[in-house]
């Protein structure tokens, strides 16, 4: 017996006798004898709750929790206490995709609210119910552009995050989409090069703001440029920063995608996070993923339901443009609660505080004389800076002092030798920043 299984000996006897069999294994007559598994799996023996607690407390000690001063797609923002209490409610946590709307209005309503908030932040018209993470949302956007334009080439800036680039490359390879890369100039997508490269074979232009160096790219001319060639504009953006920065909507983008991790989702070693996708209303029928719509029940009560399902894989099968079935629903609830708590002022304040801390750190690092300007470009909470200090000395010093920071860009591209990524969020205090500067400023080689 185990506490997760309720069957007593008596129950088993009754059920077997009802079925007219002697042994539970008689139910498996269809499995050929020579492929049946006998005996025990070679896996650990079961643990009690006390043993489990002990085991994982010991295992947790093999990890080091550090003060985070880098981002590169994952940011250490403040998590309001309320969120975990609400997302742990079993009504949200243990339910499935809302196939029976009469007993899933809780899920459907927060998806509707989530969609409303994502469209508010991106400045676009419609949002789906969420996607796995930023990079896979980017891949879905690439296929959506291919499906809409019937064009097999895709134009991508080299200033996007390497992990986004790698996921795009992988998905494109297997689907038979060819990617052309736009070079960079001073850390920014080279707009002149882009103009000369863009052709009527391209389904879309794909750019990122803020980009892999933390630079706030100016995409204000790209919408018109893309549309003049019958292509789409796709902007990958950290959604939190859109409370401050010019939105994909203002840039006349067709599709905005990116990660929502920056909306207070814990770092959690990379997951679960949440990808978002928002598009212009004209494109809604080509958008992948689930969509929730408002309607009324037969007594006129306002209610919510999954809608436009004819786009999806369970109906269109091999004709579907995406194979995605679910979303990251619980994480969508997470960010809906986060944005409800923060409101328009809180989310802006998070970014303002991060901006201030990041610029203070940047100036202090330059003052040490051991760091120099890599790009003279605007940034928000994340920046790239140059240093000739050997990388291993920096990493060693930071780790010894309990910091994760100065992520070396050469780890993703050897051309980026001597470049380091720093990110500062509202969680970082003056004392932490000053201590980081003093550790790095004290290095000699």
């Amino acid at each position: 017996m185990h506490k997760y299984f309720p069957h007593t000996e008596h129950d088993l006897r009754e059920m077997l006798s009802f079925l007219g069999i002697k042994d539970i294994k008689d139910l498996f007559v269809d499995i050929p004898e020579h492929v049946r598994f006998h005996g025990d799996y070679d896996i650990p023996t079961g643990m009690t709750e006390m043993q489990l607690r002990h085991h994982f407390q010991e295992l947790a000690k093999l990890n080091r929790t550090l003060t985070v001063f880098s981002g590169f797609g994952a940011y250490d923002h403040y998590e309001p206490s309320v969120i975990n209490h609400l997302v742990s409610r079993q009504e949200f946590l243990t339910s499935y995709t809302p196939y029976q709307p009469e007993v899933a209005q809780g899920t459907l309503q927060y998806i509707f609210e989530y969609q409303s908030m994502i469209t508010a932040l991106t400045g676009l018209d419609v949002s789906n119910a969420s996607m796995y993470d930023g990079p896979t949302a980017a891949a879905e956007a690439m296929f959506m552009a291919e499906g809409m334009t019937k064009r097999k080439r895709f134009l991508v800036s080299t200033t996007i995050f390497p992990h986004v680039k790698e996921v795009l490359r992988t998905y494109a390879h297997y689907k038979g989409v060819e990617i052309d890369y736009i070079p960079m100039k001073d850390g920014h997508t080279d707009i002149e090069e882009l103009k000369s490269m863009l052709s009527k074979e391209h389904s879309a232009i794909f750019v990122q703001k803020t980009n892999l160096f933390g630079i706030i790219e100016d995409h204000s001319t790209l919408g018109a440029l893309a549309h003049s060639m019958g292509a789409l504009l796709i902007v990958y953006a950290d959604i939190s920063t859109l409370s401050i920065l010019r939105t994909p909507g203002e840039d006349d983008a067709d599709i905005a995608i990116g990660d929502c991790q920056s909306l207070g989702i814990p770092l959690s070693f990379g997951g679960p996070y949440l990808g978002y996708m928002a598009v212009k209303k004209a494109h809604v029928r080509k958008m992948p993923g689930r969509i929730c719509g408002l309607s009324y029940d037969k007594f006129g009560k306002r209610s919510f339901v999954l809608t436009l399902q004819a786009r999806e894989q369970h109906i269109r099968r091999e004709k579907a443009n995406s194979n995605i079935c679910s979303n990251q629903s619980l994480m969508a609830l997470y960010v809906t609660i986060y944005l409800s708590l923060m409101g328009p002022h809180g989310i802006r304040k998070v970014n303002e505080l991060s901006y201030q801390g990041a610029h203070y750190l940047y100036d202090q690092l330059l003052k040490t004389g051991k760091f120099e300007v890599a790009f003279d470009q605007p940034f928000l909470k994340e920046f790239t800076i140059k240093s000739l200090i050997p990388s291993h000395l920096i990493q060693e010093a930071l780790q010894n002092n309990g910091f994760f920071g100065a992520y070396p860009l050469e780890q993703v591209n050897e051309e980026f030798e001597h470049l380091y990524n720093f990110a500062v969020t509202e969680k970082r205090t003056v004392e932490e920043i000053d201590r980081l500067v003093s550790v790095l400023g004290g290095l000699s080689w």
């Binding site: 709750e49 243990t94 007993v103 505080l353 610029h359």
Partner: protein
């Protein structure tokens, strides 16, 4: 408050706040220093509400949901088993929450150890050589598996294998994944027993076949007893066998896909290994392979040597399907679940789940039409009420069950039958719960004969009644802003 109907936006009052943030300490820096041309100028319509407003709102809407702890959730093919609290407790440890995915492997040895050990356990349970835990969900696991299939053939210089065999009973995701992977689907017919038609399969074999996708037990809840012959003929023609792990729960303790000739598979950890479905995610869809395909598994990978774990990015890999290491806190929960059951109890899962399904099947087959006789595996499929004269459809039965406090089974899937009702009880349900459900099913059948309107108009006791889906699709009110515009139009 069953009648709670507000949206969070409708409670907004200018000036209210629900956050707690420090005051600025570096006032000499300001976003206003950025050029206006790169800043947002449009308004930002988010609600302004207090902390208690938020708590009450989400608590009230949560009360309109049916969860596994609310009551029986026999949703076929979804394996809605209990999601143990112990998994939640351990996944909430700060030591797991605060780790950045780009931290040096030396500082995250605990996490990498979980990755490595869970991969090994899944390999053992499925009879395969190695796993990647990176895919985020079952559908992405399928896509990753198909990429492996394609990469394998291409690595041998064989570029003509672009067709994948998929039974007509397969879930829609299978053919969709094939298309997204840039390959073509060849549909294989089912026999009248609901299993793969071996002759039809043989007729489609050629040197253009990359492989075959199969769910076993299949979507009708029946074990493909010709599986060894199927694997053999597909292998002989040079194809690979893909196992869709959607129904793996039935096989725990009874059989391993690797032993049946499968080369690649995914597991839905949110089904078989008890992680919460979360209203539709986050899930986790690890992909496992046989020895000859290990080198194609996606990056990043976790390896170990001399007791130390490290992260590898291999050039031979199929590429990368996730930003980092997939849904870490989901696969962590699955690991806790496996350690809770251990080798002694994991093997009881398949038999108990199968016993429960057969008990339900035999108990209601006098009222519901059972299209395929014999033992089922972990789920059973009916084709509507036996008595069709009442006009009561499967949809009506499903809605009426909601009134009795049960979640409805999966309906209108599999597509092989017109009135499908697919019931999956899982191993966690007691005989008492099953008996109550059986009684409700029989009562609905009785009502269909004696008072069909009560069934056709069901549900009667839920927070809302049947919803106008046509209105939703026609009006496309997908945001609060759309809603305000529609209200203005009506005035």
């Amino acid at each position: 408050m069953v009648n709670y109907t507000k949206l969070i936006f409708e409670q907004s009052v200018q000036g209210r706040m629900g956050y707690s943030l420090p005051e600025a300490v570096f006032p000499c820096y300001s976003i206003k220093q950025l050029s206006s041309s790169i800043l947002r100028h449009s308004s930002l319509d988010l609600p302004e509400v207090s902390e208690l407003d938020v708590l009450r709102h989400f608590t009230n809407i949560s009360n309109k949901n049916h969860g596994v702890e609310t009551g029986f959730y026999p949703l076929g093919s979804c394996t809605m088993k209990y999601n143990p609290k112990m998994n939640e407790e351990i996944a909430s440890y700060p030591a797991f929450n605060q780790l950045h995915p780009l931290q040096s492997p030396l500082q995250v040895q605990g996490v990498l150890k979980v990755y490595d050990e869970l991969s090994r356990i899944l390999s053992e349970i499925s009879g395969l050589a190695a796993y990647s835990l990176n895919p985020f969900a079952g559908s992405q696991g399928e896509l990753t598996g198909l990429m492996i299939m394609k990469a394998y053939h291409e690595s041998r210089g064989d570029f003509k294998r672009t067709k994948v065999l998929v039974p007509d009973s397969a879930h829609g995701t299978n053919p969709a994944s094939v298309a997204v992977c840039g390959m073509q689907v060849i549909e294989i017919k089912s026999t009248d027993k609901g299993t793969v038609d071996l002759e039809d399969l043989k007729n489609h074999l050629s040197d253009e076949i990359a492989g075959m996708m199969l769910t076993n037990p299949n979507t009708i809840g029946i074990f493909e007893k010709d599986i060894c012959e199927i694997s053999k003929v597909v292998h002989e023609t040079g194809g690979l066998m893909y196992y869709d792990g959607a129904n793996l729960n039935a096989l725990l303790g009874m059989a391993r896909p690797g032993d049946m000739g499968f080369d690649i598979m995914h597991i839905n950890l949110h089904k078989t290994f008890s992680t919460p479905h979360g209203g539709g995610g986050p899930g986790s869809g690890p992909v496992g392979v046989v020895e000859k395909l290990v080198s194609f598994l996606p990056n990043p990978r976790v390896k170990h040597q001399d007791g130390m774990y490290y992260v590898e990015h291999s050039k031979d890999a199929l590429g990368q399907v996730s930003g980092f290491f997939g849904n870490f806190k989901v696969w962590l929960r699955a690991y806790v679940y496996i350690l809770s059951l251990g080798k002694e109890h994991i093997k009881e899962v398949g038999p108990l789940a199968t016993l429960n399904a057969n008990y339900i099947k035999d108990s209601i087959k006098d009222d519901y039409y059972l299209p395929i006789e014999g033992f089922c595996m972990h789920e059973c499929v009916f084709d509507g009420l036996i008595d069709q004269s009442t006009g009561v459809k499967t949809l009506d039965v499903a809605k009426r069950l909601l009134d009795f406090g049960f979640h409805a089974p999966t309906i209108y899937f599999p597509l092989l039958f017109h009135q499908s009702i697919m019931i999956e009880p899982t191993e966690v349900e007691s005989k008492q719960t099953l008996d109550e459900f059986i009684q409700a099913m029989k009562l609905v059948a009785h009502e269909a004969r004696t008072n069909p309107d009560v069934v056709k108009n069901a549900p009667h006791t839920t927070p809302i009644s049947r919803i106008d889906e046509v209105y939703a699709a026609k009006k496309m009110i997908l945001t609060y802003k759309d809603y305000l515009a529609e209200c203005a139009l009506q005035k």
